[in-house]
């Protein structure tokens, strides 16, 4: 299935395995779910939620290292 991911001001389409969770997608992108808040459409969602085909997912980084 395909999802659109918005991260770091860039929008990209990603091919994701059926039944994947948001956390699994973040892991594939090398992003720790502990550092981001995720929105599906306009709603905040937990990282354990399953992705659906054609989801638009916004990943907002809220924790920076230092």
């Amino acid at each position: 299935m395909e999802v659109t991911v918005i991260y770091n001001k860039t929008k990209q389409k990603k091919e994701i395995q059926e039944n994947s969770t948001i956390k699994e997608m973040l892991n594939l992108m090398g992003i720790s779910s502990e550092t981001v808040v995720v929105k599906r459409g306009n709603e905040i969602v937990m990282d354990e939620e399953k992705l659906h085909n054609e989801d638009v997912i916004e990943v907002i980084r809220v924790i920076y290292g230092g």
Binding site: S32, E34, T35, V37, K39, E43, I44, V45, M46, E48, I60, R61, V62, I63, Y64, G65, G66
Partner: protein, 307 residues
């Protein structure tokens, strides 16, 4: 189907691993706000009639502090204003300052914006480019920023300065100072400072029990305008290493940050009794601000950069 532990709403936005609660947006905002207000009450951070200065960078932590303290301001419990310091960091700071201005305008809160350039004749970028500098950016930035904030707070008659330190910041500070054997700094950690001079305003940390991730979630859930970004000078630091270590531990031990904080708060009175030193606080001969030596750290830094 997951449901909000409090109201049964199926649109949950967080599972708090430490408590097992799952919460919807509205219950998360309410529960987090109450938790901050409980920290304020428990530690007597604010009293009725206080004039509180929020050290407002425009980042998530200080914007959340402003948002919650604004509820006390609106109920006429406290007077409130904000101080923003423009340290002068090209490509980074301006956005935070703009966001800070938007937030205070929206709430109708008095706002003082001051800059390193105006006070010291040079900004942080100038200092970092100076070959005579002896310290890292965070040291100069922290010392110079505190000097200005303290001065303005006093000029404005503030009785408290509220900062955005969260649970992650606090546990990192506890572990870092312990691991470095810096007991002088360790015993100064707490919800509220105990100033050694009446020229220092009491500093308070209302977000001390809120994990950093929840601060991020709060500002997004509340749809507050916030500057998310990384300071170009925040390179590798010991604090960063300690932070990563605590995060790794938290994955399997979700209450670890709370137990670090609670354990420390319990032993702190004994540590203070054993290790408190009586500092002789005098006046800096150059600027008149409190200092434990002839010159305060700010004037000492600036003198060395002038040589």
């Amino acid at each position: 189907m997951k449901k909000c532990t409090k109201c049964g709403n199926e649109q949950v936005i967080i599972r708090r691993k430490a408590s097992g609660q799952t919460l919807c947006k509205e219950c998360f905002i309410e529960s987090t706000t109450l938790k901050v207000l409980r920290t304020i009450r428990k530690n007597r951070l604010i009293e009725r009639g206080d004039k509180v200065a929020v050290a407002l960078s425009g980042g998530k932590d200080s914007v959340m502090v402003l948002d919650i303290l604004n509820s006390l301001y609106k109920r006429n419990i406290i007077d409130l204003f904000a101080i923003t310091i423009d340290e002068g960091i090209e490509g980074y700071r301006k956005h935070g300052v703009d966001i800070a201005i938007k937030n205070t305008k929206k709430l109708g809160i008095e706002h003082r914006i001051e800059s390193f350039k105006d006070y010291f004749g040079k900004n942080l970028d100038d200092i970092m480019a100076d070959r005579r500098r002896e310290h890292g950016a965070c040291t100069y930035c922290g010392v110079l920023r505190r000097w200005i904030i303290n001065k303005i707070a006093r000029d404005e008659g503030a009785t408290k300065i509220a900062t955005g330190h969260n649970l992650d910041d606090e546990t990192q500070a506890i572990l870092m100072n312990y691991l470095e054997g810096n007991i002088d700094n360790l015993i100064r950690i707490g919800a509220k400072t105990e100033p050694k001079s009446d020229k220092f305003t009491v500093k308070i940390k209302p977000l001390r029990e809120i994990p950093e991730k929840e601060v991020g979630l709060y500002v997004i859930a509340r749809e507050l305008e916030v500057h998310f970004g990384e300071c170009p000078y925040s390179g590798e630091s010991f604090r960063g290493e300690v932070g990563r270590f605590v995060k790794e531990l938290s994955a399997d031990h979700p209450t670890i940050m709370y137990s670090i904080l609670r354990g420390f708060d319990k032993i702190k009175p004994a540590l203070k009794k054993e290790f408190s030193k009586k500092d002789n606080i005098a006046k800096c001969i150059k600027c008149g601000e409190p200092a434990s030596h002839e010159l305060c750290r700010t004037c000492l830094f600036l003198r060395k950069l002038k040589r």
